[in-house]
């Protein structure tokens, strides 16, 4: 067995330095690699280009990196809910590249799958298409989008084993499963790291070949962004 286990988040993030491009999984605050983000805050790595669907909120997720001005460029599909982000964007301190969500996911998946580029209809006829090649297939127009190139991909899973196999839970799978293996080095942090042989091979979502380093996160807050509930019938 090839083991991917490292002892802690510090070992996992070795080699992550200023100016790198980093993919981070998660949708909103769900499925965020919380422990790795905390370590990036501690390391104070800066001038990062971050590829992540959202930019966190002011005091959680990528908002923590923004707060310390560690991010030079943000590539996302939706960046509301964050006042510090807005301030940095409007003042020109932060470069922002807005990308349709499905295109963002596919640019990750393409990198994971060794596909350099693909055609998608999303954004055709809009400012997203500016400067991009347009091609018609079966009477419909598509634009050419390229796979991302990232130094690190940092994902979060529910369970993992020492071989790097990952299992996700609920909608926290989101971009985590698309980003695993999409960077030169993929780090997976998991809520529970189990011995090899514990996970049923039939139920693995991401095979360990895509993961370079895996560790069990020390602590998960798993914050909820919009707590919506209904009343019980009496």
């Amino acid at each position: 067995m090839i083991t991917k286990k490292v002892n802690n988040v510090t070992e996992a993030l070795v080699g992550l330095t200023d100016g790198m491009t980093v993919m981070l999984g998660g949708f909103g605050l769900s499925g965020l690699p919380e422990n790795s983000i905390a370590e990036m805050v501690r390391l104070k790595v800066k001038d990062l280009t971050c590829i992540s669907n959202n930019a966190g909120v002011d005091d959680f997720g990528l908002g923590l990196l923004l707060h310390q001005r560690q991010i030079k460029k943000m590539i996302s599909s939706y960046v509301g809910e964050n006042a510090e982000f807005e301030r940095q964007m409007l003042s020109g301190e932060l470069e922002v590249e807005l990308t349709p969500q499905g295109t963002l996911a596919e640019k990750c998946r393409a990198a994971q799958a060794g596909i350099p580029a693909f055609f998608t209809p999303a954004g055709y006829g809009t400012e997203v298409a500016e400067g991009k090649e347009v091609r018609e297939f079966n009477g419909k127009k598509y634009i050419l989008e390229e796979a991302y190139k990232a130094d690190f991909a940092i994902v979060k899973a529910w369970k993992g084993d020492e071989a790097g196999n990952l299992v996700f839970r609920g909608t926290s799978r989101n971009f985590n499963a698309c980003m695993a293996g999409a960077g030169k080095i993929t780090i997976a942090e998991v809520e529970e790291l189990v011995p090899v042989g514990t996970l049923d091979p039939n139920h693995i979502h991401i095979p360990g070949i895509y993961v370079k380093r895996i560790f069990q996160g020390e602590r998960y807050e798993k914050r909820i962004e919009q707590r919506t509930v209904r009343k019980r019938d009496i």
Partner: protein, 219 residues
Amino acid sequence: MALDKNGIAKRIAQEVQDGFYVNLGIGIPTLVANYVPEGLNVEFQSENGVLGMGPFPFEGEEDADIINAGKQTITTMPGASFFDSAMSFGMIRSQHVDLTILGAMEVSENGDIANWKIPGKMVKGMGGAMDLVASAENIIVAMMHVNKAGESKILKRCTLPLTGVGCVKKVVTELALMEITAAGFKLLERAPGVTVEEIVAATEANLIIDGPIPEMNLN
């Protein structure tokens, strides 16, 4: 009387058919789920990676791992499934989702939609809207007919940056149900108590009015 948001949602719910997979946007579209007639088998897709979305959880049962595209805590129905973001937009692009219902700032008579950006104001991003409108075959827009300044949002041409081109099929507002045809907006139904003249006055685009226009039946 012009419809309220629930009235708009109620009318759109009548467009949902048995066996449909439906993606609901944030705002009025979310309300549509409350009015789908009983007995129809419908599954709601949320583009962050779930099919078979159910109602909000009971208090104390919220789960940070189970949310919708509006980042709200949700539940799942029997037969639900989870998947990653690439697969989620894969099923949208490949037109396995039968109906997309979303909001808009402007719609034009050739079916263009603008709903993500107002120049000079904070831009939050398009999220999944561009992927949805570029791919879905059946797109219904839920929106208000005029903006807060009283200006029509049903236009000959959109003035705001576009989200997608030539894609909207129907529009339901507080005043009317309109279909987008090759010749432009066709008025199909009036909100209860609203006259054709009132709808025409609130519409900047040309309206095709073919014979008497029936009132919506919201019962």
